[in-house]
């Protein structure tokens, strides 16, 4: 009888643990984005133009250099920061400036940003400037129908024509 009671007590103590694990392994569901919303991600890795343009060395300058160092172009390493703007339905939704990586700031700039939008039709304009100054030299504009739960990726691929909208 005592053994039966002990087994019953053990079962009574296992049960809460079983419930705890069973319930919280899947519940409550986590709402990643609100129903009726879509997600826009801006993600790009791109090296900007050189901050200072290359200069051609004179013959006298080249002569002073060791033979293996006679590069006709003298280029600084530092690259321009990327400036990105996102305009949605005529309003500026987001803007950032990403510095190049590296101690000499000679690496690629990396941008990652996520934002939600109400599902529906939106006019989206993405602008990128990868030079030290001047206007935005890459612009892409599109009117997109974004259903609820859709993911729009805005990327940059120089070999594919610049800014990309991918859904």
């Amino acid at each position: 009888m005592k053994a039966v009671l002990r087994i019953a007590a053990q079962f009574a103590l296992y049960l809460p643990l079983m419930l705890l694990i069973g319930v919280f392994s899947t519940w409550p569901r986590f709402q990643v984005i609100a129903p009726g919303e879509a997600l826009v991600r801006v993600s790009m890795t791109h090296a900007g133009a050189r901050k200072v343009a290359c200069r051609t060395r004179s013959a006298a300058e080249l002569a002073k250099l060791a033979p293996n160092m006679r590069n006709p172009q003298d280029c600084s390493r530092e690259r321009a920061a990327l400036v990105v703007e996102l305009e949605i339905d005529g309003a500026l939704a987001w803007r950032t400036e990403a510095q190049p990586a590296g101690l000499q700031r000679d690496g690629a700039s990396t941008i990652y940003h996520r934002m939600t939008l109400p599902a529906g039709r939106h006019r989206i304009v993405a602008r990128l400037r990868d030079t030290a100054d001047g206007p935005f030299n890459h612009v892409r504009e599109a009117v997109l129908e974004l259903p609820a739960g859709a993911a729009l990726l805005i990327d940059f691929a120089a070999d594919k024509g610049g800014l990309q909208f991918r859904t």
Partner: protein, 513 residues
């Protein structure tokens, strides 16, 4: 912390009634962690055999396990899921229990600190396991993890870009996840091995009733609530909501509720706090055991019995070819178990100044003998009992009277069995041992070692000629003052029935008197 410790003690005693102290899950949280690991390893082995390690095939292969083979593969899949959650639960309780009991400082610091990276390895193993299902939960979790790492700004190509397009995740990367889901648990196992390296005779196997009970519980859960996948991973969509595993993936919603950097600060700060805790909460260490090379014969019993691997054998200081014990002071708990194990710790030695091969400066064997002799000298009347207790056990002071001598040791296993015989031959009619409650030994194995010595299963053993009827051990109610008093009264009644012991006073006691 005291309130938490008291709550744990109360809960442990409730569980003792149902499971018994020897198989109480709250007293075996560490071994339960090992049990969960092996359940995961065994179930994972089968899942790996049936798993298609490619982006296109992974989701379907897991789905087939749950649908076509629900009775075996599906159950193992669910068991794998629930064992990982149970692993988190027992590890969290293990951490809280040790923290509440203050078992993280001094000689325990190594075990504490080596346990901290295991938390990260456990989570890393579990999180990557969820990615292998390649469903919406995997998509959310992988992106969230990548965004978290992206916040650190490490690496030229951010990890998050690997998951943003269907074509961006090659099969080779998926193979990397599979590799990590095997490699990280192996690293976890190695860490678990290191974690117990400073423990003498570490227990990594759960008692059978727990092994059976936990396995049955997880199997029942697997059958009642089979684990299910979410919809397949779709890079063109965002999972609007996911069935979140709040044990393993709780930190991802926390990150979106705060920020990736805030999450790094929270988890990094918590990790740093756990690591520095042994130093921040440091207490003066008790004087470590010392070895007397002249009295040490290198038998190695203290090495075997030390619960924290603080004693080792080294070449003898003066005797060529012989060995002696050496104490690593920083690991010594000052429990005195080594002194209790030493063959030279016998009170029958005629030396006026008894020096043991290994001794505790705070309470030498010589001082213990002197205290015992002084207490025996004061005993009078019928039913004379010597009560030996330990610092982790009940307070014995209130029980001392003309018929009861009460002596408290750091640990009951510090008591060489010869002291029991010595007490019985020096005027005591009975010896009552009242150590910690079963399962609550402050120094892990004091009760076990004492029981083995008394049963003759461990050296130094209690001689067969010692009348066992004159030796009692307080039962499960030892921590309860009334229970101990009852035990003492019951012992006296039993002693009365035995009559007076034969007059066999040891030579040394006769000389002393």
């Amino acid at each position: 912390m005291h309130a938490l410790d008291a709550a744990f003690v109360r809960l442990e005693r409730v569980f003792d009634r149902a499971f018994g102290a020897a198989a109480n899950p709250l007293r075996h949280l560490g071994t339960l962690g090992y049990l969960m690991f092996w359940l995961l390893a065994l179930s994972g082995l089968y899942l790996f055999i049936r798993f298609d390690t490619s982006i296109d095939g992974a989701y379907a292969s897991i789905g087939r396990l749950s649908d076509a083979e629900w009775w075996f593969g599906g159950v193992l899949r669910s068991l794998h899921r629930y064992a990982s959650d149970a692993f988190v639960v027992v590890v969290a309780l293990h951490l809280l229990r040790e923290l509440a009991a203050g078992r993280f400082r001094g000689f325990r610091a190594f075990s504490w600190i080596s346990g901290v990276p295991l938390l990260w390895l456990l989570y890393a193993s579990g999180v990557i396991g969820y990615w292998l299902v390649w469903d919406a939960r995997a998509q959310f979790s992988a992106l969230a993890t990548a965004e978290w790492f992206h916040a650190l700004g490490i690496g030229a190509e951010p990890m998050v870009r690997n998951f943003l397009g269907a074509e961006a995740v090659p099969n080779r990367m998926f193979s990397l996840f599979v590799f990590l889901h095997i490699g990280l648990p192996l690293a976890l196992l190695a860490g678990m091995w290191i974690h117990v390296q400073r423990l003498g005779r570490p227990r990594t196997l759960s008692p059978r009733p727990l092994l059976a009970g936990f396995t049955a519980m997880l199997l029942a859960l697997a059958l009642a609530l089979p684990a299910a996948s979410e919809v397949p991973w779709d890079s063109a969509r965002v999972p609007v909501s996911v069935a979140q595993d709040w044990f393993l993936l709780f930190w991802q919603p926390l990150m979106y509720a705060t920020s990736p950097l805030a999450l790094w600060a929270i988890l990094g700060g918590a990790t740093a706090a756990l690591v520095v805790l042994p130093w921040r909460a440091r207490r003066p260490a008790l004087p470590a055991a010392v070895v007397s090379p002249q009295n040490c014969n290198g038998c190695g019993r203290c090495v075997d019995d030390c619960p924290y691997q603080a004693v080792l054998l080294a070449p003898h200081a003066t005797k060529r070819g012989a060995f002696q014990a050496v104490v690593m002071a920083e690991r010594c708990a000052a429990c005195g178990i080594c002194a209790g194990a030493c063959p030279s710790s016998t009170p029958f030695r005629a030396d006026a100044d008894l020096v043991s091969g290994i001794d505790l400066p705070g309470l030498t064997v010589n001082a213990l003998r002197a205290r015992l002799e002084a207490a025996l000298g004061k005993l009078a009347g019928d039913g004379r009992v010597v009560l030996f207790g330990c610092e982790g056990g009940p307070a014995l002071g209130a029980l001392a009277d003309a018929r009861t001598a009460a002596l408290t040791l750091p640990c009951l296993a510090m008591l060489p069995p010869s002291f029991i015989e010595y007490a019985l031959r020096s005027g005591a009619q009975g010896v009552l041992l009242a150590g910690c409650a079963p399962g609550e030994c402050r120094y892990r194995q004091g009760l076990e070692i004492t029981a083995e010595r008394l049963a003759g299963a461990r050296e130094p053993h209690l001689r067969a000629s010692v009348p066992r009827a004159r030796l009692w051990q307080a039962g499960d109610r030892v921590q309860d003052a009334a229970g101990l008093r009852e035990s003492l009264a019951g012992f006296r009644t039993a002693l009365k029935a035995l009559g007076a012991p034969p007059p066999t006073r040891p030579k040394r006691a006769r000389v002393a008197s």
